[in-house]
C-alpha cells in the first residue's frame, strides 16, 4: 500500500553508531540517540524508578526528625545512604541528571518537530497518490456530473479543511487536524515551562515558619522565624515587610460519635499591617484559606497550647512570666514543654511539664487527656535544679531539658490559678491559665505562576494532541466510459490509532447528494482489505 507521508516519522529513523567515528559524526550520533523516542522512554522510566526510594527512605525536606532518628538508629547505613543522597533524593545530582537529560532530549525532539510542523502547516496538502484505491479508506462511483463540477462540489463540501487542487485539475487534496501536532508540541514545551517555574521557585523562593501565641505577633524579618529555608539565590532583604498579630484562635473538635475528638475547624483571626505606614487590617487564616500579603502567602500549619506560668525564685522576684508554647504529643493534644529559668536564686531552675487540656486519670495509663479542647486543663510539673547547660555555647532545644547536671526536686499537679511552693526555698510556680498558639508558614514562590501556566498549557496541549484527529482526503474525478465521470474518494489518517473512513464516509455521503451516482452503477469499495481502524 502507499506508504503514508513520513515527514515527522523520519525523525524516528533507527540509530546505529557510524562505523568511522569522526568526532563530528560521533557527536551527531550521540545527539540523535539522545533525542530518539527510545531514549526518551528509557529516561522516563528511569525517572519513575528513581522517584521510588524517596518515598521509602525518610526525606530531609519532608521529615527531618525521622532522618535524625535514622542516623541515631543505624549510623553506618545512614552514612552510606547519605553518600548516595538518599535522604534528599529529589534534590540529588543523580535525580537531577535524569530529568535534565530528559528535558534536553525533549528540546532536541520538539524543536525539529516544531520546525517541520510550522512548515507543514503552511504548505498545501500533498497531491493525491496515483492509485487511490490502495489507501485504507476508498470509495469509487460513477456519475453523470462532469469532472469539474464534481471537484467544485467537493471543494464546497470540504469547508474547514485546507484544500489544494492538483496541477492537472483532476483531483483535490484536503487535510485537517493540524491542531493535533500543535497540541503535542504545546504539551511538551509546557512541561519545560513547569520545570522552569519549579527551578525559579526553589532558587529565589522563600519559606519560613513562625510560632505565635494568641495576643502576640511577629514582624516579617529573618530573625523572627523559628525555621527558614530560603532559596539559594534568595535575598532576605526582599522579605515583604509586614507585621501580623494573632488576635484569636478558634479550634473546634467533633464532640460526639465515633469521630469524637477529630478536628473540625482551626481558624486564626489576625490583624496585620501590609507594610510600614499602611493601615492595619484584619483577616481570618484557616487551613485551606491562606492570607496573601505583599507577594507572600501566610498559611496556618499548626496550633497548640501555651500554658501561662509565673515563676518566682527564692527571693520572691518574678523570674519568668507569660505563655510557654508546648508541643502537642497526641490527637488529644496532651502537650509537653519545658521552662528554663537560668537566673533564679538560689539555684537555676528547670521545669518539665505536660499540659492536659482535658485531664483525666486513666486507671492504667495514669493522667491523660480525654479530649483536645480545654475542658479541664491540668499541668503536671517536675522541677529540677542545677546547671541548665545553657552557658555551654551549644545550641539548645527550647523543648528539651538537659538534666545531666541537674537534680530532681519535686513534682506536682496544678490547675489554673494554683500555685506550688517548691521545697528548699527554691521559689513558687503559679499556673495562671493557658492560651493557644498557631504556627504560620510564610512562603514566597515567584515561580508559581509559571508552573501553573505550564500545567495549564500542558493540559490543553495534551487534550488537543490526544483528541484531535488528523486526516487527509483526496477526491479525484476523471472522465470515464459513456460520458460518465468516475469519482474516487480516499482518505488517510495520520498518527496513532487513527482512521479516516468516517471522514470518507461523511464526505461521500454529502457529495453523493450533489453528485448522484449514475443509475447503472453503485458506489463500491475496491482495493485490498484495508488495515486501518474502525471508528
Amino acid at each position: 500500500m502507499t506508504a503514508p507521508p513520513r515527514e515527522l516519522e523520519d525523525l524516528e529513523a533507527p540509530v546505529a553508531p557510524p562505523a568511522a567515528l569522526s568526532p563530528r559524526e560521533l557527536a551527531r550520533w550521540a545527539w540523535r540517540s539522545l533525542t530518539s523516542m527510545r531514549t526518551a522512554l528509557i529516561l522516563l522510566f528511569l525517572l519513575a524508578v528513581a522517584a521510588v526510594p524517596g518515598s521509602i527512605v525518610p526525606q530531609r525536606s519532608v521529615d527531618p526528625i525521622k532522618v535524625t532518628d535514622f542516623f541515631r538508629d543505624d549510623p553506618g547505613l545512614a552514612r552510606w545512604f547519605d553518600r548516595l543522597h538518599l535522604f534528599s533524593v529529589y534534590s540529588s545530582p543523580w535525580f537531577a541528571a535524569i530529568y535534565l537529560l530528559l528535558f534536553v532530549s525533549l528540546v532536541g525532539c520538539v524543536v525539529p518537530r516544531a520546525r517541520l510542523h510550522w512548515r507543514a502547516s503552511r504548505a498545501t496538502p500533498p497531491p493525491a497518490p496515483r492509485r487511490l484505491e490502495r489507501l485504507p479508506a476508498h470509495v469509487r462511483w460513477e456519475t453523470a456530473v462532469a469532472p469539474d463540477a464534481v471537484l467544485a462540489a467537493a471543494s464546497r463540501e470540504l469547508r474547514g479543511w485546507r484544500t489544494a487542487a492538483s496541477s492537472d485539475g483532476t483531483s483535490l487534496a484536503a487535510e485537517k487536524g493540524y491542531l493535533r501536532e500543535t497540541g503535542n508540541l504545546l504539551f511538551h514545551l509546557s512541561l519545560l515551562v513547569v520545570l522552569v517555574g519549579i527551578a525559579v521557585g526553589s532558587l529565589v523562593g522563600f519559606k519560613g515558619t513562625v510560632l505565635v501565641p494568641v495576643g502576640e505577633g511577629f514582624a516579617n524579618t529573618v530573625t523572627q522565624y523559628d525555621d527558614i529555608t530560603p532559596g539559594s539565590l534568595y535575598r532576605t532583604d526582599r522579605l515583604p515587610p509586614f507585621r501580623l498579630t494573632l488576635d484569636r484562635f478558634t479550634a473546634r473538635w467533633e464532640t460526639a460519635g465515633p469521630q469524637r475528638g477529630a478536628p473540625r475547624e482551626y481558624r486564626a483571626d489576625v490583624t496585620y499591617i501590609p507594610h510600614p505606614g499602611a493601615g492595619s487590617r484584619t483577616a481570618s487564616i484557616s487551613v485551606n484559606h491562606p492570607l496573601d500579603v505583599g507577594g507572600a502567602r501566610v498559611f496556618l500549619v499548626g496550633n497548640g497550647y501555651a500554658p501561662e506560668v509565673t515563676v518566682r525564685d527564692g527571693t520572691g522576684a518574678v523570674v519568668a512570666r507569660g505563655p510557654v508554647p508546648f508541643l502537642p504529643q497526641d490527637a488529644s493534644m496532651a502537650s509537653s514543654g519545658v521552662l528554663k529559668v537560668a537566673d533564679a536564686r538560689p539555684s537555676s531552675l528547670g521545669l518539665q511539664a505536660v499540659f492536659l487540656p482535658t485531664g483525666v486519670l486513666d486507671p492504667r495509663r495514669g493522667p491523660v487527656s480525654a479530649f483536645p479542647d480545654a475542658g479541664n486543663p491540668e499541668l503536671y510539673l517536675t522541677a529540677w535544679r542545677g546547671d541548665l547547660g545553657t552557658d555551654s555555647g551549644l545550641a539548645q532545644s527550647v523543648y528539651r531539658l538537659d538534666t545531666r547536671r541537674m537534680t530532681q526536686v519535686a513534682s506536682a499537679r496544678l490547675v489554673p490559678g494554683m500555685s506550688w511552693r517548691l521545697p528548699d526555698g527554691l521559689g513558687t510556680v503559679t499556673f495562671e491559665g493557658w492560651r493557644r498558639w498557631a504556627t504560620f508558614q510564610v512562603a514566597q514562590d515567584p515561580g508559581k505562576g509559571a508552573t501553573l501556566a505550564g500545567a495549564g498549557g500542558a493540559l490543553v496541549g495534551l487534550m488537543a494532541s490526544l483528541f484531535v484527529r488528523r486526516r487527509r482526503v483526496w477526491v479525484r474525478a476523471l472522465p470515464g466510459e459513456g460520458g460518465r465521470t468516475v469519482v474516487e474518494v480516499a482518505g488517510l489518517a495520520r498518527g496513532e490509532n487513527q482512521d479516516a473512513s468516517v471522514q470518507v464516509d461523511a464526505l461521500v455521503d454529502r457529495l453523493s447528494r450533489s453528485v448522484p451516482k449514475h443509475p447503472l452503477t453503485a458506489p463500491r469499495a475496491t482495493g485490498p482489505a484495508p488495515t486501518s481502524d474502525q471508528e
Binding site: S55, A262, V287, P530
Partner: protein, 333 residues
Amino acid sequence: MAVDLSLAQASNNLVYSAMAVYTVALVAFAGEMAFGSRGRVARVQAEQGVPVEERVLVGAGAVSPEPPSAVAAVADEPAAAGGERWGRVGVSLTVLAAVLQLGAVVTRGLAVHRPPWGNMYEFTVAGTLLAVAGFLLVLRRNPVRYLGVFVVAPVLLALGLAVTVLYVDAAALVPALDSYWLVIHVTAVMLGAAIFAVGAAVTVLFLLKDAEERSGRTGVRAVDALLRRLPSAASLDRTAYRLHAFAFPIYTFAVMAGAVWAEYAWGRYWGWDPKETWAFITWVFYAGYLHARATAGWKGRTAAVIALLGFSCFLFNYYGVNFLLPGRHSYAK
C-alpha cells in the same frame, strides 16, 4: 451539621444490596462465558474470515451513501439463545446494582452534608460506581459484554475491601480535607482511576488474546473457548488505548488539582510526600505507555505491560501508600 445516622445506615444497607446483586450479575456473566455460543463479534469475524473491525471499514466504505454498516448488522442480528440470555441478564443485574450503589453514594452524601468521597471507604464506593457506569456507557454502543466479568469481579473485590478493611462511620471532615479542591481533585482522581481500571482489564484481555493469536492454538480447554469469544487482539489493543488516552488527561488534571489543593492546605504545591511521589510515578508510567505506543519496537505487548505497571502503581498508591508509608495525606484514617 450533625450526621444523619439513619441515612448513613440506609447507605450501608444499599452498599450491601448492591454487592449481592453484583454477585449474581457476576455469575450470569460467567455463565455466558462458560455456556454461551461464541460471542457475536467473534462469530462474525469467523464467518467473514476477517477481523470484524476491518469488515466494518469495508462495509462503511462500500455501502455508502446508504450505509447499513457492519456494526449495525452485528448489533441487529437476532440474539442467539442460551448464553446470550445469560449475558443480558448479567447486564440488567449490573444496571440494577449500579442504581443501588448510586443510592448508597447519594444517601451517604446526604447523611454527611458533603460530597461523599472524603475517606478511602467512600472513595472506593463512589469510584467503583464510576467504573461500572463507564462500562455500561461503553456497552451501549459497543459490543463489549465480554468485559462484564472483568469489570464486575474487581469491583466486587474492591467493595469487599471497602466494607471490611476500609470502612469508617459517616462523619464530617478534618479541616485540611474541607475544601472544594477536595471535591475537584478527588472527583478527577476517581474518574481517571475508574477509566484506567477498565483500561487495565481490557489490556489484560489483550495480552491473553495476543498470546493465543501468536500461538495459533485452537484448543478445546475452557480458557481457549473463553479466549475465542473475545474480539481480535488488535481491536482489544485499540479499545485499551482509547480508554487510557481518555483517562490520562483526566488523571493529569487530577494531579494538578491536587497540587493546587496542597498549596492552599499546606503552603506548598509539591512536597514529595509519599502520596504525591507515587502519583508522579503513576503519571510517568502512563506517559511512558502513550510514548511506547508511538515508538518502534515498543508497541503492542511492551506498551501493554507498561500500562499495567501504571495501574499497579496507582493501586499501590491507593492501598499500599495509605497503609505502609506514613505521610501527610491522613486520608487513610
